[in-house]
Each structure stands twice: as C-alpha cells, then as structure tokens.
C-alpha cells in the first residue's frame, strides 16, 4: 500500500469532485494504454497519468503532453474493465491546467482548440478555413500542408465564407466569458 503524505491526494480529490470518478478503481491493468492509438505522442501513458493523479503529482500531470494529445476517442474507456472515463479525467486536467496557468504541454493543440472556439463564438458554427489560417498564423507556419489546403479548397472541402447562425443572442448566453 502506498501511503500518501500531506498534500498528496488533493489532486485525486479535486478531479473526483469535477468528474465523479473514483481513482481507487483503477487496476493499472494497462488495457487503456494498450488500446490508445496516440501513445506515441504522449509523455505519460494514460494509466500512468491516472497514477500521477492518484499520487497527487500535480505538476507532472497538468504539464503533461498526454492530456492534450488525448482526442477523447473513448477507445480506452470502452475497454476499461473498471469503466473509468479516462477522457473525462483528461478534460478535467486540461481545465485545471488552464485555470492554474501552468506550462502547457502541447501549445499547438491548445491553440487549435482556441481557434475553433473563436469561430464558434463568432458564427455559432466552426469555420474551417479561418481556423486553419489563424492557427497557421499563430504558429508562423505557412509552408507545411499547403498542398493539402489547396486540394481541400479546390474540392470545396473548405468553404470560403462561414456558415452562421441567426440567433446571435444565444451565443452571448453560451460564451459568457
């Protein structure tokens, strides 16, 4: 048995409060980590990340790349014998990382999410072309993927003008911040 020192265990409690997930349930069977298609891009395997949460290793967990690389595909949790909603843990850790202003493990991915939400806030729907342009602008990267972008434009996979919703007031209600 691992004995938690003072201060340890707070992270597990915080995340449990946000998600309702009981971290004692994890068997560390690694089924999740074996199922996850994106472990190549992660610094901690999904079950190791849960371990960090259990042990209260807040800095490592919140600054990890894992929480950003996880796309929430639910592959891990659909196989998890203890039905632990791992992507929900990732959501909560990301939000906590943002709230605490820690160093972001994968700034490009956060940048992408922010650009997506900006267009949703503005139009009520995503506008892919704008997301891509602004994302690239921020990243100072115009050369990679030009071919893909042009192909998508040519095949009209990227609409030039955004599709917008009429009820702008509703957006104000949703995006209070």
């Amino acid at each position: 048995m691992i004995e938690l020192k003072k201060g340890h265990g707070d992270l597990a409690r915080d995340i449990q409060k946000l998600t309702g997930i009981n971290f004692n349930g994890c068997l560390h069977c690694r089924t999740c980590s074996n199922a996850c298609p994106f472990v190549d891009g992660m610094d901690y395997l999904p079950n190791v990340l849960l371990r960090l949460v259990q042990m209260g290793m807040e800095k490592q967990a919140l600054e990890s790349s894992t929480i950003w690389v996880c796309v929430g595909c639910n592959t891990c949790c659909s196989f998890c014998p203890m039905a632990i909603d791992i992507p929900m843990v990732m959501d909560a850790l990301r939000e906590k990382a943002l709230a605490q202003g820690v160093k972001i493990g994968e700034p490009d991915i956060l940048n992408f999410h922010n650009e997506v939400l900006k267009t949703v806030k503005k139009y009520g729907r995503t506008h892919k072309l704008e997301i891509m342009m602004r994302y690239k602008l921020k990243k100072h990267d115009f050369l990679s993927d030009v071919g893909v972008g042009l192909k998508m434009l040519k095949k009209r996979k990227l609409d030039l003008t955004p599709s917008k919703i009429k009820d702008k007031k509703a957006l104000g209600k949703i995006f209070k911040k």
């Binding site: 298609p37 994106f38 190549d40 891009g41 950003w68 690389v69 796309v71 929430g72 595909c73 639910n74 592959t75 949790c77 659909s78 998890c80 039905a83 632990i84 909603d85 992507p87 929900m88 959501d91 909560a92 990301r94 939000e95 943002l98 991915i109 956060l110 940048n111 992408f112 999410h113 922010n114 997506v116 939400l117 949703v120 009520g124 729907r125 995503t126 506008h127 892919k128 997301i131 891509m132 994302y135 993927d145 893909v148 192909k151 998508m152 095949k155 009209r156 996979k157 990227l158 599709s163 919703i165 009429k166 009820d167 509703a170 957006l171 209600k173 949703i174 995006f175 209070k176 911040k177």
Partner: protein, 302 residues
C-alpha cells in the same frame, strides 16, 4: 409507405467539408421515405474543442440545439462525435433536476426527457432495406470494401448501454453484394483534429489503417463519419492510396441514385476509376429499372 419525419442535425463537418456525405445521406433518406428536416438555426455542438477547454460551453452548446427540436420529432444526427456530445448532454440533464431548471430558464422550453437522439445507423433498425432493394442483390457486386468505424463505436462509460452497431456496415454492404475485407483496424481512431495540430501522429495511424486494409485485399474504405473520411483522404502517405467512400454513398449508389457525379468529384482520392473497373459507375445498368419508380416519384422532393 408512410413517410417518417426526423429532425436532422448535420453538424459542421458535414455542412462544410462533407458535401458528398450530406448529398448522399439526404438522397438515401429520401429513397427510403424518411423526411429530414434540418434543425432550424442549429449551432456547432462544441466538438472536441469545447470539452477540451471549457466544460460549461461544452454543455451549453448541445443544450441550445436540443431546445430547438420540434416536439415529438426524433433527432437524427449525422456525425458520430456530435451524437455522443448530444447524448451525454441530454443524459446529464435527465439525471439532474437543478440542471433541468437551468436549461428551462436558459432556453425557455420544457425539458423533454424522452427526446430520441439517434445516429444514422439506427435507421437500419427502423426500415427494411429489402423493401427498397430487390433481393438477392447484386448492386455492389465484386467490389472489395474495408468497413471503417473509427472511434464511433467506442462509447464512454455513461453511454455504455447504448446499442452497439458493430457489424452493421458489413451486414448492409454484403447484402448489397460487396465483398467484405476484415483487416483488424476497423475501430482504430483516425486522430480527428490531430490531423491539424499533430499531423505526423495522424498520418501514422491513418496510413497504418489504410495499408492494412489494402494488404488484406480491400479496394476501398467505407466510413460513416465525415471527419474520418477527410482524414483518411488527406493523411494517407501511401503512394497509391485507395479511395474512401461514405457509407451513405455506397447505399445510395446501390439504390440506384442517378446523380452520383455530383458528389464523386468532391473526393480527394478519385474513386471513379475503381467504380468503372467494377462496372459500378452506371448504376442504371444494374437491372434496377423497376426500382426507378421509387426515386422518381413526384412526392419526393429533390
């Protein structure tokens, strides 16, 4: 057969980059007497980004959409990930009276706990394809297809009692005469937005999925998700990638939809040479003459 009306949520992927999917989906539904009424003034469900950074926005975006559904109509959702967002949001409301109050106050409508939120696949339980296609069928004869579900069948724990549709595409496509290739990567996620933010990761998984399918003998991929469709097309690094079809494209083609030309050119990997090779490009010659009456009926709007 009497028409059934569904509210229809296309979602941003389908609306913006999945024109061919939208067209074929609408066509398919029209052919099987299902009327789709696009949800008036729908908004983005928040997709992966909202729940990544702001759980309140992620909750409120689907709420507004749910509040727009006309009473008594089931809500059909074309995009598998939007569907999970909607279902989770709805379930959360169902289990929480305080949230229900908030929802009713915010959106000015009573909460409907019985609202049916269904995926396109669910339609196959509600219609019988054989009512619309003669059996035995040869419509897709000879083409070797690799059905690809991506992450759409993986449900989070709170939705684990949802029906599983594993095998549905295999079943429908093989009934139509296609040869199903099994390759072991049917439910591997395509990487969704990592395709933009971490293209190398996405490329690795996509190329693995498609090359395994091709090595197992597949001539094309069939997916039911617009996002997967796009990723399979743009992130495959094989020299000669095989084309990807949307499931509804296959179905409407099998039902003899005439205007395929309208959507096939929108594919990034051109599927026409394969279809010509398999003599599937002109569906009229497949002996579907008598079925034509179904699609050309006056009461079916184009």
């Amino acid at each position: 057969m009497a028409k059934t009306t569904y509210s229809f949520f296309p979602g941003c992927s389908l609306k913006a980059s999945g024109h061919e999917n939208t067209l074929s989906l609408l066509k398919f539904c029209e052919m099987v007497d299902i009327e789709l009424q696009e949800l008036d003034d729908w908004n983005c469900c928040g997709s992966s980004s909202a729940h990544s950074v702001d759980h309140e926005v992620a909750r409120d975006l689907p709420w507004r959409n749910i509040s727009l559904v006309p009473e008594g109509q089931p809500l059909l959702i074309a995009c598998p990930s939007c569907m999970i967002r909607f279902k989770q949001s709805h379930l959360k409301l169902k289990n929480d009276l305080d949230l229900q109050k908030k929802y009713e106050k915010d959106w000015g409508r009573p909460f409907d706990p019985d609202l049916e939120i269904i995926h396109f696949f669910e339609l196959f339980k509600r219609i019988r394809l054989r009512d619309y296609i003669e059996e035995p069928t040869k419509q897709l004869k000879g083409i070797k297809v690799a059905p690809y579900y991506g992450c759409m069948l993986s449900m989070p724990p709170d939705l684990r009692h949802e029906p599983s549709y594993y095998g549905l595409m295999e079943d429908a496509l093989s009934r139509l005469g296609a040869q199903i290739v099994s390759y072991g990567y049917e439910t591997q996620c395509c990487g969704t937005y990592l395709s933009v933010a971490k293209p190398e990761l996405s490329q690795k998984v996509v190329t693995q999925i498609i090359s395994r399918a091709r090595d197992a003998g597949a001539e094309c991929m069939v997916t039911a998700c617009a996002m997967c469709h796009l990723n399979l097309e743009i992130r495959c690094s094989m020299k000669k990638p095989i084309p990807t079809f949307h499931f509804s494209e296959m179905l409407s083609m099998a039902l003899g939809a005439e205007k395929q030309k309208k959507w096939f050119p929108k594919h990034i990997v051109n599927p026409i040479p394969l279809l010509k090779e398999r003599k599937l490009f002109k569906s009229r010659s497949n002996g579907l003459g008598e079925l034509k009456s179904i699609f050309t009926r006056k009461d079916v709007k184009k």
